[in-house]
Symmetry: C2
Subunit: 354 residues, 2 copies
Amino acid sequence: MIKRFIVAYNKSFYFMYMANIAIAGATGAVGQEILNSLAKKEFPVNELKLFSSSRSAGNTQATSFGPYILEEFSIEACKNIDIIFFAVGGDFSRKYASELLEKNDKIIIIDNSSAFRYDKNIPLVVPAINASAIKNSRLIANPNCTTAILAMVLHPIYKEFGLKKCIVSTYQATSGAGNPGMQELLHESKNYIDGLPVENKIFSHPIPFNLIPHIDVEQENHYTKEEMKVTWETHKIFEDDSFPLSCTAVRVPIIRAHSESVVIETKKNITENGGLEKVREILINAVGVTLRDDIQNNNYPMPLNASEIDEVQVGRIRKNLVFGDFGLEFFVCGDQLLRGAALNAVEIAELVKI
Amino acid sequence: MIKRFIVAYNKSFYFMYMANIAIAGATGAVGQEILNSLAKKEFPVNELKLFSSSRSAGNTQATSFGPYILEEFSIEACKNIDIIFFAVGGDFSRKYASELLEKNDKIIIIDNSSAFRYDKNIPLVVPAINASAIKNSRLIANPNCTTAILAMVLHPIYKEFGLKKCIVSTYQATSGAGNPGMQELLHESKNYIDGLPVENKIFSHPIPFNLIPHIDVEQENHYTKEEMKVTWETHKIFEDDSFPLSCTAVRVPIIRAHSESVVIETKKNITENGGLEKVREILINAVGVTLRDDIQNNNYPMPLNASEIDEVQVGRIRKNLVFGDFGLEFFVCGDQLLRGAALNAVEIAELVKI
């Protein structure tokens, strides 16, 4: 902690200090995007530590902050760290979080895994929605990618019209399985086109020119865990579980942007309360959202225009035929690694008090 | 007409004659699959005429019935034909259907275009569902691919539990745009992987590793025509428009099988009427449907196991969280060229009286 700053976020101003930052999982797809987002936002980084697996430790990684030597993670190595991003996996987070918080009584952990998301004592945060949930917590969970992308668009509509029902079908990119997922898609697609055998190591079936309606393990109710995460986490982030939400999660042969087809029933009559024009106005003004709703000019959300972009794209907005004046349907697309993970985590870091 | 046969369809027996068959659009993806389906079903083909564009006329096409010389279509050339498949497009169908029926008072037209689907005097048929709608009609419309695939699974459930609401999101293959669509996917995907410029001539945006929530033109209600086709045609085939149905239609980088995520609200309480076991039993017994509903063993519908297969695959069956005991959710996948077009058309041909 060296210097105090004033930073702007979402039209409010916050005090922030130069911070010693660490990333566990720095060589992964999310870890790399955390580095990129920190740099792009000119986050006041003082010291920076990049933790990797023991296999990669000692290697040098080029970053926007210059070259850094990768280190193996240890509690001891975190002693001067103010904020650490956990971008490894649930097992890592469960193994180290408590001890790290205990041994370093100032450190703040922003955890990208699902390990603590459903713990009612741990805030689960999308900064544009529930920044206030952070309070003084030193462990903050970053939501599932599909949830974070959906919530950016759903919450402003929820605030205006209320929400009675929500039905989601997803089109999820291979980046959800990290760099190995994206590599498997591109490498095996080339094999397919070249007439060579197609393998699958990361996904449960070959992914080239295929799609797989199975992400994470089956639950007792026959939804997958990935699908239930969207229900559980949306309820927690909105601090409201009064509206049922169902999801079908499908892996598609896309590199790094998730798409979602969303149908909702609202509490308020949309037609009597401004209609689609009002919905568009709300979404134009929503933080972190870009309206692409002009099908006549071929303008709508797609992985092609959402990848490597901070904002979630929304379009194909229409009154839903099933729920009539209380029904709304739209299509969203967001970068899985940014809004779905790294960018959200860095925006949380902008909010915490160190 | 040479010889009378008895053929079996759906556990009933029908009389059928050796028929003189023609295909308009024989070189297209659907035309080729009509030929394959006729051969596979050992359809009693006597004469066979293959019509193509004037550009291809005179070329020889290899078929399962031997080599045939392609001819340019004319009303005159159809004079001995008993059944003609129209697999060209709406404009062609509108241009020639009336005159052909008038000049050849025995010919039966099975039209794969959307030209006559919404004409209340023209039957729109999925043979497993509404074969009886054919009556003595000499012009029969073949449904939209997404509708035909959905209907095979939805109708048996509808018969058992009734239907109050239906919400569909699709994952539609490039074969919906014919051979040029499939070729664009494979060719441009190779360009993408090789780092070469990616073009789009068939689709409104580049399709490799992208998806496009825009198929056919926008309607006044902001749904696309492709989406509304599913609503209009399902109502017509079921002879029941009492249940609202909405669809989001999305083109995905898949070769030739369409997938659909389907959520329904039923009239009967599913839990009190046999539950998911009853649903599975119904679908096991449904004509033209294969149950793949074992996520623990990675068995569910995918383009990989639905392509070039006659049966529609269904799985991921679960009670829907939004509609509770009256809610059901499932995932279907069917070959767009077969069940979605050619196979359905040939099954109609098996039913008509010539």
